[in-house]
Each structure stands twice: as structure tokens, then as C-alpha cells.
Symmetry: C2
Subunit: 278 residues, 2 copies
């Protein structure tokens, strides 16, 4: 990564990480200072685990899991180790989300509030189901050694797209959840009277959106991607360039698969680029 | 575009267009059948223009504007004409959004409901302001002939990212709006009692999300992008390939700018690809 590019990356990463921490502090302040605190008693303090676990797990941890391959300091680590970290963070985020659902269902059942009536609950459940599917397919395709490279390559665009789509949907669902909770939770003064809690949690919503925007920016910059191990290795042993001509037939075949997958040949043939201007 | 690829594109496009129309029918059915209809009287029938104009303009038209360069049937049209269509659709979507805001403020003022207290209103106003900024910058950079190619190239990644971010945020904000309206608008039975209107509008929310997902899928497939005019021309006169070597110095220079912009050289040097697997 060139120095200019690295500076921009470090700036975006620091901003995302700081914002993520601020979001966690905000959601904790919300439930501990403005609301009933945290407990596992079937009451409102149990419900409060729902926003806390969603923000810390399903938004912050999932966001970090998405960009973990982008950290240049990890490019000398083996790809397999990075895959375990990526999968591990996502598994942790999934566990947080699952417990946060139990908290809500417990609370609803104890308070005799119906489950699954709102658009928030429909989309939320759909996102968690898609996330579990993404986890299982991701493990099966990229961590089980017998899966052929051709399958891994063919599945990659869908894996990347689904990952970003699920992350974005999780944030959209959280914003709907904040809206619901502020309407139902604020009685006198009401949400529309803008008490301090309303303004504070609106700010949390805005911070979550900016955190999501930064993660999506980092994840979609082509020049910030981890280089192929093969190219990276070549860069550090042969002084860069012409990696393909210096590897054996097996690696070369693999590389062709990757190139075809990434639309590299299509782009070269028709002169397409990521972002065209004229 | 290869035949297989074209079939997949036509399928995705048909699905997106049909879903978009179904969303418009759903939002019209909501306000005309379940609610007070449409009028400009300061009452609830004026409020109803808000969801109608947002879904038809700020979601459907904006979505179509985003993918208008992807239609292979337009690749023989001049890029300038396509730019006018892209800008025109976005301008129309902006006008729809602006009128939809007037409808809400009118309704709030007549009913003595405070404005701008909810997270929905904060994010909604931010999205409309960002959208107007994107429109003005887009016109200035890509439609005013004097803007240098280097500026156009440098601004393109931001233009593309902002466009997709604003579209996604518009959808997230609409989902929050649906949540608010179902809670405030349903009194007896309430939202939590799942009357037909609640289920119907929840389905509208899900359809909007799927429409958004399809637009984002179409917009981010590299192989579905409009070829550079230069490459397309070469493909149809010289039988394809080697476009760069057959053009004069001016075009060649332009092409270099584009390649550098798109990270083409970086990718070639370090063997990075859009989606890496190993």
C-alpha cells in the first residue's frame, strides 16, 4: 500500500473504530442512565440487553469482521489465520444476536406483548436467519479444505455482496428498533416533546449510520484489499510483478480461476473499469 | 455482454422493475384503500402524499436512475444522452422528495405536531440534503464541459459510493417512517394486534428491501457495466481488443487517467482482484 493510501486507510479505520466505541458507550448510557439498567428478570431490564447486544455484537463486531482482511499489518499473517479471525468474530456477533433475541422474546412473553408483529421484527429475524446461513455456507465453502477452488471462486461475489447486504440491513433494522423503543418507552414527556433521552438516542442512531458508512467505504475500496498471498510473496522475494510467470502449474491454474472469477479477463478484454468516467 | 450474463441481467432487471411497480401499487393501496386517500388539505390525506412520493420518486425513480447505464440496449447511445437521462431521473426523484417533505410539514403544522423530533426526520432530512449536494456536484463535475478529466476521474469513486449510500439510506429511512406511521396510525386495533393494514404495510416494507437489494446487486456487478465508449467502438470496428494501441494520443491519455482512477494499474501490479479467494 502506498504511503498516501495508507494514511487515508489509517484515518478511515481510526474514525470507524472510535465511532464504534462511542456507539457502545451511547447504548450503555441509554440503558444504564436513562432506562432500567441490565438484568435477566423478564422485565424491561432484560429487554435492555437487546439494544446493547445488537450494537456491540451485530453492528460493531460484524463491522470489524468485515474489514479484518483490510488491515495491512495482517498481510504477512497466513490467510487461513485471518479466515479464522473473520469467522470467529462473525460467530461471536451471531451469538450476541441470538441472546439479544431471547431477551426480547422473554420480555414480550412475560409482559403479554405479541411477538413478531412489527416490520422491525420481520426484518430482524430475516437478517439473523440470513446471517446464520452466510456463516454456515462461509465455513463450508472457505474453511473446509476439500471444497474445490472453482466453487470458492464462483461463490465469492455472492459471499461479499451478502455480507455487506446483511450488515446494512442489520443497521436499518436497528434504526427501526430505536424508533419503536423511543415511541413506546417515552410516555411523559413523549418522543415528540424531545426529552433529553430522545435527542441522545437519535444521536446514537446517526452515529450508527456513520459507523456503517465508514465500514462500507473501507470494504469497497479496491486498492485497500489484501493482495493475493502469491503476489504478496512474489513482491517480497522477486521485487514485485510478473507473479504468474514464476509459479508452478498448480498455482498458475488457481490464479486463472481467481482472475476469471473476479471478471479480470472480461475487464481486460472490453476495457471496463470499476468506475468509468468520460 | 455474453449471452449467459445477459440472461442473468435481464432476469435481475425484470425482477427489480416488477418489484418496483408492486411497491408503487402497494403504497397507493395503503393510502387509498386503508387510509384517507390523497388530497392537499393540511389533513391526513395531505400527509399521505409523503409515503406515495417517497416510494415512487425517492425509491423507485432513484433506483432506476442508478442502473440506467447498465442497460445493454443503451450502449450504442451516446454517453452524454445517458448522462442526461441519469441526471433527469435523479432531478425528478428530488422534486418528488421535496414535495413529499412539504406535505409532512404542512400536516404537522396544521395538527400542531412538532417537526424534526424523530430519528426518521433527522436521517430523512440529511438524506435529502446529501441528495441535493450529490445532484449539484454531479452536474458540475460530469455535465459542465469545462471540468477537466482528472477532476472527473478523481471524483468518480465518491460519486458512485455516495449514490449507493444515499439510496440505501433513503430505504432505511422509509422503513423507519413505515414503523412510525403504523404505530401512530393504528389505534383500535393497534399495530401489535396485527390488523390487515399492519400486515399489508409490513409486506410493503419487505418488498422495498428486496427492490433495494436487487438495484444494489445490479449496480455492483463489474461485468454488467457499460463498456468505455472507446472500447465499445473498437470492439465494433476492429473486432475487439487492443483498443489502447489504436487510438490517438489524446484518447490514450484519457484512457490512462481512467485506468489509474479505477485502480487498474494497482490491480495489475499487485495482482489484486475484486473478490479474492484461496
Amino acid at each position: 500500500m502506498a504511503m498516501d493510501n495508507l494514511k487515508q486507510f489509517v484515518f478511515a479505520l481510526s474514525a470507524a473504530a472510535s465511532l464504534g466505541f462511542v456507539c457502545i458507550i451511547f447504548v450503555l448510557t441509554w440503558v444504564l442512565h436513562f432506562k432500567e439498567g441490565l438484568a435477566w428478570d423478564g422485565g424491561l431490564a432484560e429487554f435492555n440487553w437487546h439494544p446493547v447486544l445488537i450494537v456491540t455484537g451485530f453492528i460493531f463486531l460484524q463491522g470489524i469482521a468485515i474489514i479484518v482482511y483490510r488491515l495491512p499489518w495482517t498481510w504477512k499473517c497466513s490467510k487461513l489465520m485471518m479466515k479464522f479471525i473473520h469467522a470467529g468474530l462473525n460467530l461471536l456477533a451471531f451469538i450476541f444476536a441470538a441472546i439479544s433475541l431471547v431477551a426480547v422474546f422473554d420480555f414480550h412473553n412475560a409482559a403479554k406483548i405479541p411477538n413478531m408483529y412489527s416490520l422491525h421484527s420481520w426484518l430482524g429475524l430475516a437478517v439473523v436467519i440470513l446471517y446464520s446461513l452466510q456463516l454456515v455456507l462461509g465455513l463450508g465453502v472457505y474453511l473446509i479444505p476439500i471444497t474445490p477452488v472453482s466453487v470458492r471462486a464462483a461463490f465469492m461475489p455472492l459471499h461479499v455482496y451478502s455480507g455487506l447486504f446483511i450488515f446494512t440491513s442489520a443497521i436499518a433494522t436497528a434504526l427501526m428498533g430505536i424508533t419503536e423503543k423511543l415511541i413506546f418507552g417515552l410516555k411523559d414527556p413523549k418522543y415528540k416533546d424531545s426529552p433529553p433521552e430522545a435527542t441522545f438516542v437519535n444521536v446514537l442512531g446517526v452515529l450508527i449510520v456513520v459507523f456503517g458508512a465508514l465500514i462500507l467505504w473501507i470494504a469497497t475500496r479496491t486498492s485497500w484489499k489484501r493482495p493475493n498471498d502469491q503476489a504478496f510473496h512474489s513482491l517480497h522475494t522477486n521485487g514485485g510483478g510478473e507473479a504468474n510467470t514464476k509459479v508452478g502449474p498448480a498455482l498458475s491454474q488457481l490464479s486463472e480461476g481467481l482472475e476469471a472469477e473476479a471478471g479480470g479477463d472480461v475487464r481486460r478484454r472490453s476495457n471496463k473499469s470499476d468506475d468509468q468516467v468520460d
